[in-house]
């Protein structure tokens, strides 16, 4: 299958609240929003973050903004309070999502 890296078609920003990670994902070209909606499912995101073992993955759709907002519960290894990791806020994790490989959009 013809796969692409999400970072070449979308941009994203990560945020944290306690042990909850949120990531907004937006297509670089708004015309790719339906593609993102189809391909970037909760299941795919959960699989991409499997090593972080999120207890729940939610997806919120914002059609006017052409954006998807993902919320991953318990994905921050304790978060800024308790994590022993280097990136306790999870600020870099938008790029773990953007490393996802997805079927190429049909332009």
């Amino acid at each position: 299958m013809n796969l692409v890296t999400l970072a070449d078609f979308a941009h994203a920003r990560a945020g944290d609240k306690g042990n909850i990670l949120s990531i907004a994902v937006l297509p670089l070209d708004p015309a790719h929003y339906p593609w993102l909606l189809r391909e970037l499912t909760c299941e795919r995101v959960a699989e991409q973050f499997a090593t972080r073992q999120p207890s729940k993955v939610h997806r919120y759709e914002l059609p006017n903004l052409h954006a998807l907002n993902f919320v991953l519960e318990d994905a921050l290894e304790g978060g800024v309070n308790l994590s022993c990791g280097l990136d306790r806020h999870g600020k870099s994790l938008s790029y773990l999502l953007l490393s996802l490989r997805l079927p190429r959009p049909q332009d």
Partner: protein
């Protein structure tokens, strides 16, 4: 003509850039109409840390860089009639006000400084509130409630030139200003949604003007070393436009605004703040050119009956230690160092699991159990400069110290060619959140 006000934000966190804040003030001073500057200087744990400083020195406990931001801009703002609103009072707004009063006394004896109080439950916890606080906490250093815009609004109504708050919800810094400038009612949920979205877009300062954004080749940002602070134009009829300091670097685009609009948001149709439940479900952005983006379609629902509080607790120690391996076989030697450390830790402190990264192979995306690291190692990465990093937290400071020394002991006991050990140990303040009824919290003003 429709009335317009301007709200600029000069800081998005405690260690933001004072020079950018000064350029914001200088720009706003040249513009017309009612203008305000907000400075957001607190993070979740900052306030607990400020409370610890206050414990050592009763005159400390406000944001440690508050005066680095305030002092350069005071003349500009006061002479142009631009009120400054900040949460940089942190754990001790009164001490900040006293120092500010002393700084200003000779020059601006009539300028009114307001402290918004009432968020700090450590100062005075009426017995009726205790039922709402977390019960099982030892060694509490701070208990604060995220208050809304009411205190700020009242302070501005009564003529404050500078408003010093402690814990207040970040967007409320703007909401108080907007309610004052445009006379919007606190229970006009539609208008409070616009004001809160404004505050939300401004509160991280340059994160809406090109910070936390650039990706060479994909998302370019001009003059990224000179990002401009954001300026919101808010119109009486509810129109909202985000711009930035004239002549600054950075960019305000649909992309930067969308990323920040959703930043740290969970359900976008129910973003809870003390002033309103903000609904971004119908939000739209429209690029007007020249680094100005209009935001519309913001909806509001009645504010929650509860307020969020945070308790800061001490007693946990956070340690880190690192050592590097470079050249041929760097990954294998670093992986061996990790194996040695795991065995040593298991012997010295059974049950204490360290976090171990091999930077270059896996660090930012790694996890405490090393699942991600194992996946990456299985790909046999060809790297020739790898840094082993150990992270530990425990209540036993001496034990953390002992385990960190094990990393340094790799100099003589570890794989060949290990160099560059650094160690760091500090007390960590952790926070616990709680909810309590809004009706229990009353903010008050003190004037200086």
């Amino acid at each position: 003509m429709t009335k317009t006000i301007l709200v600029g934000c000069g800081a998005g966190f405690a260690n933001d850039r004072p020079d950018a804040a000064l350029r914001l003030a200088q720009d706003l001073a040249q513009r017309n109409g009612q203008r305000y500057i907000m400075l957001e200087l607190l993070a979740e744990r900052t306030l607990a840390e400020a409370q610890l400083r206050r414990g050592l020195d009763p005159q400390a406990g406000y944001a440690s860089r508050l005066f680095d931001f305030l002092e350069p801009m005071l003349d500009v703002c006061i002479e142009a009639g631009i009120p400054i609103i900040t949460n940089g009072g942190a754990a001790n707004p009164k001490a900040a006000a006293q120092r500010l009063r002393a700084t200003l006394a000779g020059r601006y004896p009539t300028l009114k400084i307001a402290c918004v109080l009432g968020d700090d439950l450590l100062e005075e916890t009426p017995p009726r509130l205790e039922q709402w606080l977390p019960q099982d906490l030892a060694d509490v250093v701070s208990v604060n409630v995220y208050t809304g815009a009411d205190g700020i609004h009242t302070a501005l109504q009564e003529g404050a030139g500078i408003v010093l708050c402690g814990r207040v919800a970040d967007p409320s810094l703007a909401v108080g200003a907007i309610r004052h400038g445009l006379g919007w009612a606190a229970d006009d949920w539609q208008k409070m949604a616009i004001a809160t979205a404004t505050g939300h877009l401004l509160e991280c300062c340059t994160q809406v003007t090109g910070g936390y954004f650039a990706h060479p080749g994909i998302k370019e940002i001009p003059a990224p070393a000179n990002l401009g602070c954001p300026i919101a134009e808010i119109y009486e009829d509810g129109r909202l436009i985000i711009g930035k300091t004239q002549g600054s670097g950075g960019r305000v685009s649909e992309q930067t605004v969308k990323e920040q609009l959703l930043y740290e948001v969970h359900d976008p149709r129910r973003y809870l703040t003390p002033d309103v439940v903000l609904d971004l479900g119908q939000a739209r952005v429209h690029d007007l050119g020249d680094d100005r983006v209009e935001v519309s379609g913001l909806l509001g629902h009645p504010r929650p009956d509860t307020l969020k509080g945070l308790a800061g607790v001490r007693g946990l120690w956070f340690g880190e230690a690192e050592i590097s391996y470079a050249g041929p076989g760097a990954v294998a030697r670093a992986a061996l160092a990790r194996e040695i450390l795991l065995q040593r830790f298991d012997r010295l402190a059974p049950g204490v699991q360290p976090w171990i990264d091999l930077s270059g192979v896996a660090s930012l995306f790694n996890d405490h159990s090393g699942r991600y690291l194992q996946q990456r190692l299985a790909l046999a990465p060809a790297l020739d400069d790898v840094r082993v990093r150990v992270g530990l937290t425990h209540t036993d400071q001496a034990m953390v110290q002992t385990l960190l020394a094990e990393v340094e002991s790799l100099y003589t006991n570890g794989p060949a060619g290990g160099g560059g050990v650094r160690r760091h140990l500090a007390e960590a303040v952790t926070t616990r959140s709680f909810l309590l009824p809004r009706s229990e919290i009353h903010t008050t003003l003190e004037w200086y």
